[in-house]
Amino acid sequence: MRRIICIGNRLMAGDEAGPAMFDRLLGESLPEDVELVDGGTRGLDLLPFFDGARLVVLIDQVEGFRPSSGVVLLEGEALQCASEKRFDHQAGIGYLLQLLPMVCDMAPPQVRMIGIEGCLNEKKIAHCLNILQQQLAG
């Protein structure tokens, strides 16, 4: 099982890239073993979606990973760079990723993130889809 989890708040300007990509992916043909999840704003509550998956691709708005607006693929140490070491009401995916190895019921999946810097547009959507295709082909 592989999962694509789109993260963000579709009601909040600046945080809507993940949900917009979810809407877009609903119309795409995905491999049979890929589950598409609208992760919304649930942060730590998304933990169950990491269980039983061998690969999780997150799609989220990001900040500070590129010198300018665009799309970036993050994995490994790059995903541990967020400083969310403590839980609060806005603890997001950064906190979840720090906790994952310690609280996952099974072996944690491979995690990659397609990060979108700046506003989402057709060019970035195409770039996202291209990266996603490569990840799912692997």
Binding site: L11, T41, R42, C81, E84, F87, D88, H89, G94, V103
Partner: protein, 506 residues
């Protein structure tokens, strides 16, 4: 000590991204306080002109934590408007999902947001520090990690009953849209049983039934002193709380409010709620009357009349408002009075004996506010078990008829306290939607009479040892568990942009 007041802004991670707290310190004590919401919400405006059912989809997304409570309040408002007759099965199952959210929220708050401060290096000379570090340290503490595991499981109940996760919209006027199977309900009972076992062993150190006999402060002390419980969390939390004198400060105005929660299936009670509604002061409880709720914007950046019923009040931002406005949070008032809401208020009004005994004998405090979260879990679990047993194959939905023009109020107790949705439908569309959240009550600014909000009041009089690290104030603020809705949550490289800052500025 300086006699000249100094003004400091408080630093809080783990509170909420859009809350600023400023206090004035004179002779080492807080002489005044201002709590400010720094972000315009405006969700209500987003609702106007939409279809009547849209609140069921949009309002659960207002908050990433209390989304089931928002869904319940939105459904109750539509039930009210349509005079829906919700089947008992649906009432039980709606309640159980909201109770699961409470269990998760209470445990996460207590250990991941409140107790984590006991593992702060500023307490390293204290005798409790090694234990606090081992149990509560961020990302490492044994209890902290166990809380994440356990609270993750309990919320699966919402997914099972709701049939969708996350951001379910399974509650609708007239009931719920999903019909859980017998196997679904057995799985839910299993999840509650798992939570009960963990809670009894690790949190209170005994069975919930025995714990239910603890009705006075002295019985609580005896419970915690029992050496067979020295590995449980409650005795340690009480010990640390007393050592830090968290049982002596942090009291607000002494007005408590609960709008009532968890409607009972027919025949269970005349009152209608598992957790009764009411307004309490000095041990006296007055019956709840929703007409006594008003929103005061005298010190908030909103235009319009200073005080208004939420059925009329608008949400018109006015950043350049003349005067002394300092918050995007309105000031809800009940009979023109500020009121604390949350687990403590809710259980005091519901007549919970231990908490009432504590407040009567020792007064309100930061510590009893936290104890209420443990007590609430123990109160809810047996009822969840019973309702899940009783929920059978009966109907889960009864069509409420056409949604006509009219008004509806949906009231419930979210994890942090009283939550209300006020709704008006005209010509098939939402003409008015107003939401009052628990944190609006607790973290409200001053009102037209200049009376502070509950959290502001609770800070006044607190002694501060180190102005550069006023952890005493942090304990008080966190005990209210303020939550000011979702901000932008993008994944950031490096330090998060904390909107809650530390530093002497005066």
């Amino acid at each position: 000590m300086s006699a000249t007041p100094r003004s400091i802004k408080l630093p809080f991670n783990r509170v909420e991204g859009d809350l600023d707290i400023r206090v004035e310190i004179k002779d080492g004590q807080v002489s005044d306080a201002w709590v400010s919401g720094t972000m315009f919400r405006g969700f209500e405006n987003m609702m106007i002109g939409r279809g009547p059912l849209d609140g069921l989809v949009i309002t659960p997304r207002i908050c990433g934590i209390c989304s089931t409570s928002h869904l319940h309040a939105a459904a109750l408002a539509l039930d009210h408007l349509t005079d829906a007759r919700v089947p008992d099965n649906a009432t039980r199952l709606r309640n159980v999902t909201q109770m699961a959210e409470h269990l998760q929220s209470d445990m996460r708050h207590l250990f991941l947001m409140f107790a984590v401060d006991f593992a702060h290096p500023c307490y390293q000379s204290r005798s409790f520090f090694p234990q606090a570090l081992a149990r509560y340290a961020p990302l490492k503490g044994e209890t902290a990690l166990e809380v994440v595991r356990q609270t993750r499981r309990i919320l699966e109940i919402v997914a099972i009953i709701g049939g969708q996760w996350p951001h379910s919209s399974f509650m609708v006027p007239g009931g719920i849209v999903s019909v859980p199977s017998g196997a679904d309900l057995r799985q839910c009972r299993h999840l509650v049983r798992q939570f009960r076992n963990w809670f009894e062993e690790r949190i209170i150190g005994g069975s919930m039934e025995d714990w239910g006999q603890v009705k006075t402060l002295s019985e609580l002390e005896a419970w915690c002193a029992d050496p067979t419980r020295n590995q449980a969390e409650l005795p340690l939390l009480m010990q640390i709380g007393r050592e830090l004198e968290l049982d002596k400060g942090g009291a607000g105005h002494g007005y408590y409010l609960s709008c009532g929660s968890l409607p009972l299936p027919a025949g269970e009670s005349e009152d209608g709620h598992l957790l009764a509604a009411g307004f309490m002061h000095k041990g006296m409880i007055q019956p709840w009357n929703a007409k006594q709720v008003a929103e005061d914007v005298s010190f908030s950046w909103y235009a319009g009349s200073a005080v208004n019923s939420p059925m009329i009040a608008e949400t018109l931002p006015a950043l350049d408002k003349p005067g002394e406005a300092y918050s995007w949070v309105k000031a809800p008032r009940y009979r023109r009075l500020p009121a604390e809401t949350g687990p403590l208020a809710e259980l005091l009004i519901a007549g919970q004996p231990l908490l009432n005994n504590w407040v009567e004998t020792r007064g309100e405090s930061t510590l009893v506010r936290e104890l209420a979260r443990v007590v609430r879990c123990a109160e809810l679990v047996p009822v969840m078990e019973r309702w899940l047993r009783e929920a059978g194959s009966g109907e889960c939905y009864r069509h409420p008829g056409e949604i006509k023009s009219g008004t509806g109020i949906g009231l419930t107790q979210a994890s942090r306290g009283a939550l209300g949705h006020w709704l008006r439908i005209e010509d098939g569309l939402i003409a008015h939607y107003q939401i009052i959240t628990p944190t609006s009550w607790n973290a409200s600014p001053r009102d037209e009479r200049g009376v502070r909000g509950p959290l502001e009041e609770a800070l006044v009089g607190t002694s501060v040892a180190n102005e550069n690290h006023p952890i005493e104030l942090g304990h008080i603020v966190r005990s209210y568990d303020p939550c000011l809705v979702c901000a932008v949550h993008s994944f950031r490289n490096g330090e998060a942009l904390s909107r809650l800052r530390i530093g002497v500025i005066g």
